[in-house]
């Protein structure tokens, strides 16, 4: 583990640390998500480079993972924090009050996965039209199809 992260690790015993292909990954429980993010910003992770999510559908007990890639310009290092979010009422604390730059990214995750971010100032759809039904990047959302002539099924995916 990067020595920069040791003080952060000492403050949170519920956080599981991993190394994924040379990058530090912190698996944070949902209730510590915001406190951990604030602590990370304290020790020098001043940029929230990216927020995204993964839908594990039936492969894992907790359906969604919310992934935030943090960047420290001062320490020249990265940290990835991941939390699991359940299938029923997927909600996690918003990072936008801590890093304003997470605003668009969390709107995208809300749009694409239907995960709610508590405390986000403007949680609306960003890429899909406002009246769109469903969340396209969920694994149970179909890719759609185009009608084609001269095919037995008349549909190819």
């Amino acid at each position: 583990m990067n020595p920069v992260l040791e003080s952060l690790a000492a403050g949170f015993d519920t956080v599981a640390w991993e190394e994924s292909h040379g990058q530090d990954v912190a698996r944070v429980p949902g209730e510590d998500w915001e406190a951990f993010a604030r602590a990370a910003k304290e020790i020098g992770f001043e940029v929230c480079a990216d927020v995204t999510a993964v839908d594990w559908l039936r492969q894992r007990p907790e359906r969604y993972e919310v992934v935030a890639n943090l960047l420290s310009i001062a320490h020249r290092t990265r940290l990835r924090m991941i939390t699991s979010v359940g299938r029923e009422d997927p909600t996690v604390a918003s990072l936008t009050p801590i890093w304003p730059g997470a605003g668009f990214a969390e709107r995208e995750v809300y749009d694409m996965f239907g995960i709610h971010f508590d405390g986000h100032p403007d949680l609306t759809r960003i890429l899909m039209p406002d009246e769109w039904e469903g969340h396209p990047l969920r694994k149970d959302f179909g890719v759609g199809s185009v009608p084609v002539q001269f095919k037995e099924s008349h549909q190819v995916s």
Partner: protein, 495 residues
Amino acid sequence: MVDEMTGMTEGGRPPSNPPSETPEGGRPPSTPPSEKTAMTEGGPPPSTPPGETRDTLDIWVAGTEEPQFQPTDEGTQEFGPDETEARLDEQFGRVVDDDYIFDDEVSDDERSVLNMGPQHPSTHGVLRLQLELEGEVIRRTKPIIGYLHTGMEKTAEQLSFYQGPTNVTRMDYLAPLHCELAYSLAVERLLGIEVPPRAAAIRILMTELNRVSSHLVALATNGMDIGALSMMIYGFRERESILAFFEKTTGLRMNHNYIRPGGVAADLPPRWKDDVAAILDDLPGRLDDYDDLLKANPIWIARTQGVGVISAEEAIAFSITGPALRAAGVDWDLRRAFPYSGIDQYEFDVPVGKSGDVYDRYRVRVDEILESLKIVEQVMDAIPKGDYRVADAKITPPPRGRIDESMEALIHHFKLFTEGFKVPSGETYVAVESPRGELGCYLVSDGEAQPYRMHTRAPSFYNLQALPIAMADSLVADTIATIASMDPVMGDVDR
């Protein structure tokens, strides 16, 4: 843009206009105009006879000409004798007074909402801005995006890892090679393979040339939006020479699908060094021409300096990367911080601005072009010999000739293009420095031949978040200059 040329006096010399006496008293003194007269072929024709040095700009600037005003006797159009000198200066355009004084007592009724875009020539695609105006001053801005959303992250989950670059190359269509590079590096990290040194060097050569071509478009569109129409023609002209090299190497001008997991699609073409050398010879002179056109141009400076300011703190808070961050004075370049493909073995500087305004972003881009050309030259001089892709038959297709004689090669070829290769399960995030900033790829594999999740951290998407703060309390006329200087590519924003 007023570009009325001053008439030549006898002897071919323009009237002597000391450019330091520009009327904008509050602005920092502009740098003296360049004394270059040497124009390369194809540039604007020199306006002075050969051998004679031109010491002024051929641009009409309010307030710098000889006093020419003669009182007229045109009746009511005549300026009355009671006009003060200051008022006359304003009327004749010698002084531009556009500092809006905010009146606290303006009620909400006097605010109006203006929709700019999505179909607007200066929004660089389908960006829509909701501007809340008070007179001519922007109070609030809301960028509305998604008009170009095509679900490319969903598409990536349907394509195999080998087909993936075809998809991601269409995201940032001005820097397709950077998209391919980020994706390929992520796949290679999950596979645990290293590409041969020649493949890495070719990747750096191509992506740095791509940075040059992308920045040339940024300069061109930035110039066009503010009114320097010549800049648009020049920028696209020079970019074409790079795209011609790309076409020769990859087969396509854009959407190359050239950098693939395991290396690159093909080796560089025969006599590629001549083509690259021609680009290296040509571009620096052309950039000097652009500096003559824009760098000390008082109109350009008035439209860009102090406009659309993003401070370093704001840039960091809003996750802004790339030239916009460096223009704010933050020395941060992923090529330095987290080097990829062996870029740390080449020497280059990271240009950094000071004030974070439109002018600094323009200067940073110009300087970055020169630094990228430096890298290209070093790659060209010291390109390693060897294979241009890994020799692993499971990941890269066999050479065409082998397919005819070897059954195994035929099977590998068939399996690769029907099923693709499987990637061990895991997740990783790889970022490269694209012309617009940190272009990241978050890739999750569950052990199948398709990515389980592919997410692109699009730099334009994050940079657009800064528009509301960059444009707050500025004039509507500065909007397009600010948008152009952020250089958003809507294909990158909406994906």
